[in-house]
């Protein structure tokens, strides 16, 4: 989309093309991040369903493949919902270090 449009160039009734949130990377203010361990994952998709963004990545075979850190805000819901056992966690939260 063009930047700094004048009001006469805007869409009717405050409407914008859908899906433009994808252009706006929102993962840079995390304080914690989920770390994914593929070999512990049982592919239950709980993390994928519960993620309030769309930050759980799937591979070509629709298997959970990791975290999209461009959009993940570190809310920890995926970790909370992950049913894997303590000694074999698929998702754990770690402090974000930049």
């Amino acid at each position: 989309m063009k930047k700094n449009m004048g009001w006469k160039e805007l869409g009717h009734g405050d409407s914008l093309p859908a899906g433009t949130a994808a252009d706006f990377q929102t993962g840079d203010w995390r304080s914690e991040k989920p770390v994914f361990v593929r070999e512990n994952c049982i592919n239950c998709y709980f993390c994928w369903i519960y993620c309030p963004d769309s930050a759980i990545l799937l591979d070509e075979d629709n298997k959970v493949a990791g975290i999209d850190y461009k959009y993940c805000k570190g809310c920890g819901i995926c970790d909370r919902e992950c049913p894997t056992k303590k000694e074999k966690r698929a998702i754990t939260m770690e402090a974000e270090r930049k």
Binding site: H12, G13, L16, P17
Partner: protein
């Protein structure tokens, strides 16, 4: 054309039946309850195709209206007083999203103290939200204005929501003779609803009401400014066309025996009817009195009012609400502001009257005209802003 005996509320409900909106979401409140109550009867009897949403509050009612209109539906609702105030968070969203929702309003005083009778404080409180406002003088005008408002609000130059109001109980519950249009005539007159954009259109997905900060909010408000400017022309156009078809033309304002008037009273709503009777009486006695009825308050017909009052010596601006600005009622402040650049202008004074339904009688109107005669003769106003009819 069918001649019917209808109260203001029944007339508005009848107009809604003939308009047959896609969605009506409403919550009951005195004195507007009957409008949607009668209409829900039409829904139950299968006389309309409307999806009726019985919500739990007016905030939800207007929210459901916004959602339905954003999905591409023709939407109507009705409310009054506190109900309109509970809607007020959502009202500017409807105008900014350019959703042509039509609201049947009944003017009732705002609490506290709790009161169910007429004054204009409810609609005046929401006058700056980008909604068009029409104040009807009687049931006939309410009926005609609701049907016209569908055309006006859906016009592509406007696409703004609009409310038509009647004076609580005085019009809403008084039975009058009205001349209705045939059902198929209304259907033809309003035409098919044209959807400009719909959030349910999967082929053209859109996002509406996005976060908009210092960079774009200002730009997104400008279309409302522009549309409100154009609304004036469209209201006049629709009014003229309606007059040609059905013999009743209303315009933005109406002068009654005003052309050669030396003293005038400016009013909105049912008080205009009372004033007409007094004007007739004064004219018989040779007093050059006239009435200026302001029918449309948003967009505000400043030029038309200035023009209509240009030859009057003294004018009483009456307000059925007080904005607590210490500058007079809302109609007075608007008219006084509109007069600023004019060289030839009447001496203005403000009468705030009828709060909470306090009766305004023929005798009261006579008294106001008598005082205006004194002002015209002496060239002086004793008191600029009066609270007329209140006990001290």
């Amino acid at each position: 054309m069918p001649i019917l005996a209808k109260t203001g509320n029944e007339a508005m409900a009848e107009a809604m039946r003939q308009i047959n909106p896609d969605v009506v979401a409403a919550y009951p409140i005195t004195p507007a309850t009957e409008i949607v109550m009668i209409f829900s009867g039409f829904v139950a009897d299968g006389l309309v195709d409307t999806e009726f949403v019985a919500v739990e509050s007016e905030h939800s009612a207007m929210s459901a209206c916004v959602g339905a209109a954003a999905a591409g539906a023709r939407v109507m609702t009705g409310t009054s007083s506190q109900g309109l105030q509970l809607m007020s968070e959502i009202l500017p969203i409807a105008s900014a999203l350019r959703l042509p929702i039509v609201l049947c309003e009944v003017n009732r005083a705002l609490s506290a103290p709790i009161n169910i009778h007429c004054d204009h404080s409810d609609t005046m409180a929401v006058r700056d939200f980008g909604w068009m406002q029409v104040y009807a003088e009687n049931a006939q005008e309410a009926y005609d204005s609701i049907i016209q408002m569908i055309r006006i609000s859906e016009d592509e130059r406007v696409r703004l929501p609009g409310m038509v109001s009647t004076d609580g109980f005085i019009i809403s519950h008084c039975m009058e003779k009205i001349e209705a249009l045939e059902d198929n005539e209304v259907k033809k007159y309003i035409g098919e609803y044209k959807v400009i954009n719909s959030v349910l259109d999967q082929k053209n997905p859109i996002s509406i009401g996005s976060l908009d900060l210092q960079d774009y909010y200002f730009e997104h408000k400008m279309p409302v400014v522009e549309a409100m400017g154009k609304a004036k022309d469209v209201i006049l156009e629709v009014s003229k066309d309606f007059g040609k078809r059905y013999g009743r033309e209303y315009g933005l304002t109406e002068g009654y025996k005003l052309k050669d008037a030396e003293i005038a009273l400016v009013a909105m709503g049912s008080t205009c009817g009372t004033t007409r009777a007094v004007v007739d009486e004064l004219r018989e006695r040779g007093v050059k009195a006239g009435l200026l009825k302001v029918r449309v308050f948003r967009p505000f017909p400043a030029e038309e009012i200035v023009q209509a009052l240009s030859k009057v010596k003294a004018a009483a601006i009456t307000d059925r609400s007080d904005g607590f600005s210490n500058q007079g009622g809302q109609l007075f402040t608007e008219i006084r502001s509109a007069m600023y650049e004019q060289k030839a202008k009447p001496i203005l004074s403000n009468y705030i009257y009828g709060l909470g339904g306090r009766e305004i009688s023929l005798e009261d109107i006579r008294k106001i005209f008598d005082e205006q005669k004194e002002v015209a003769d002496s060239g002086k106003v004793k008191q600029l802003i009066r609270h007329f009819g209140v006990r001290e």
